[in-house]
């Protein structure tokens, strides 16, 4: 990585990066609030808020999943230092998204029917429920306590991202362009992982047994 790498690896640079990422992760909320204050949310603000929070949660989830590949490609450890934070931001936005949905779209009516009958809601809800244990076990002490099982548990994020995408895709009314674009991102993020795990296994098999 050379000179640039040396600078980037300084604790201060990593800290600055963390602050920057935290700032960016707050942006969707800040933009939403500013639109709210400026009444730029139109005549149906509840719907707009629900939608924006959903897309924010999904984008943050994708960003979280992009960190490990980025670390592999660039070798820079800074990417991994923001992984927990982005994961928690994903959860944060998902909670707000759910609350916005309950408050503004459902008005707390018909909750049971909605969560058992509407396929796209079921997918979103499953994604949300699966996010909960990941958020709960994100602390250092939990990581230590769970040991190897932590990693296994957190692999459920691959199921979550697929469920979230399905939740999104099933909302398509007539134009699926945006859903397909996100689908390509999801696919890339999953495929690179499959390829690495193959390479790793092949590498282990091929390595001289000492």
């Amino acid at each position: 990585m050379g000179m640039a790498g040396a600078v980037l690896n300084r604790p201060r640079a990593v800290r600055a990066f963390k602050v920057l990422v935290a700032f960016m992760a707050f942006l969707p909320l800040a933009i939403l609030l500013s639109r709210l204050v400026g009444s730029g949310l139109g005549p149906d603000p509840g719907q707009q808020i629900t939608e924006s929070l959903g897309i924010a949660a999904f984008q943050l989830l994708l960003a979280t999943l992009a960190l490990t590949p980025l670390k592999r490609w660039t070798g820079w450890v800074g990417w991994l230092r923001v992984r927990r934070m982005l994961g928690l931001f994903t959860f944060f936005y998902a909670v707000l998204h759910l609350l916005a949905f309950l408050q503004f779209i459902l008005g707390w009516g018909d909750v049971w029917a909605t969560f058992t009958k509407r396929p796209y809601i079921i997918a979103g809800f499953l994604a949300f429920v699966l996010l909960i244990p990941l958020a709960v076990t994100s602390t250092n002490s939990m990581m230590r306590r769970l040991g190897r099982r932590w990693k296994t548990l957190h692999r459920s994020v691959y199921v979550i991202v697929l469920l979230a995408w399905v939740h999104f895709f099933w909302q398509a009314r007539s134009d699926i362009g945006e859903m397909l674009a996100y689908g390509v991102v999801v696919l890339v993020l999953l495929v690179v992982r499959v390829r690495w795990s193959r390479l790793l296994r092949a590498g282990r098999r091929g390595a001289p047994s000492a």
Partner: protein, 322 residues
């Protein structure tokens, strides 16, 4: 025609708004009311500066609801018109790319006077009426809009529909050069947008062809220059920017029915008792709806126009014919 002073479906409602006063184009009335009721003048001024040619019309209070109007700005900025994109603000942004004059409407099928008509030849401005209708979207929001136009029945009769004609089919303009939504590679809509009504539905006195709203020519995003308004059905039935009308014996396949028949039926009557796979139809958000004071309403069967239209569906299982 049956004329009543206060039909049940003109749900009583609320106070007079600047927009309601604006509707009253007799300006001396406006100033008198504004003075006596202390109505906010900025709203009036804003409304007076809206674009589009003014369209004088006869008001039809007996065909109108007295509910509070959805503000002009919301009516023209919050639209579903997928020809211009799927976002609610896409139509307002991009519908200007469509040219609406000259405009022709092709009329064919089982009728005595088929042909391609210039829009001006179809319309007699002296007969324009103003009707204030509720509009209920299948997405569970609703508006109250003052339309200007003509009864659909009157226009259709001029084409002398044959007795074999049981359905009327409508088409929206298909022109990807002017309609960017039609250029999308990922749209599942098989353009043009298609809609249809049974002839007896089309001849119902509520069925309306709008050429304007809020006393002026329709903005493009609201379906200029000619759109259907069938207020007892979900909004997607009220097809916009019509270029074709056909009389036919067999029931036409409509756009949303073609895309998702399990979600959208041919009839699409507003009905809180018939659930939609995506949205509960029991309630609606009357727009504008605030965050702290959401404007929830119970959805009424046939959007409150049951007295006018329920006889059309006598004996039909509305769960099956949704």
């Amino acid at each position: 025609m049956l004329i009543k002073n206060s039909p049940a479906w003109a749900l009583p409602e609320n106070d007079v708004t600047p927009e309601a006063i604006y509707l009253n184009r007799r300006s001396f009335m406006v100033s008198a009311l504004a003075a006596s009721a202390g109505v906010a003048l900025p709203g009036l001024l804003a409304a007076a500066s809206v674009p589009g040619k003014e369209l004088p019309s006869m008001s039809r209070p007996e065909m109108s609801t007295s509910e509070k109007l959805t503000p002009y700005e919301d009516v023209v900025r919050y639209n579903n018109f997928y020809e211009f994109g799927t976002g609610k603000d896409d139509p307002a942004r991009y519908a200007g790319e469509m040219s609406v004059s000259p405009w022709t409407v092709k009329v064919d099928g089982a009728c005595g006077r088929p042909g391609t008509y210039n829009l001006e030849d179809l319309l007699q401005p002296s007969q324009y009426e103003e009707r204030i209708y509720r509009l209920r979207c299948v997405e569970a929001w609703s508006m109250v809009i003052p339309w200007v136009g003509v009864p659909l029945a009157g226009l259709l009769k001029r084409f002398e529909p044959a007795s074999s004609a049981r359905y009327v089919y409508f088409e929206t303009l298909h022109d990807p050069e002017q309609m960017r939504g039609q250029r999308s590679l990922f749209s599942t809509i098989d353009w043009p947008y298609r809609e249809g009504l049974r002839v007896d539905e089309a001849m119902n006195e509520l069925a309306f062809l709008a050429v304007g709203l809020y006393g002026r020519e329709l903005p493009n995003q609201n379906g200029a220059p000619l759109r259907l308004v069938v207020p007892w059905k979900y909004g997607f039935k009220s097809i916009k920017s019509i270029v074709r009308i056909r009389f036919q014996e067999e029931r036409p396949k409509t756009t949303w029915e073609l895309i998702a028949p399990q979600e959208y039926g041919f009839y699409a009557n507003v009905n809180p008792e018939v659930d939609h796979p995506r949205w509960s139809q029991k309630r609606e958000r009357r727009l504008p709806s605030g965050l702290l004071s959401p404007n929830w309403r119970e959805t009424v069967k046939f959007n409150g126009y049951g007295e006018q239209v329920s006889h059309l569906y006598k004996g039909m299982d509305l769960e099956k014919f949704y």
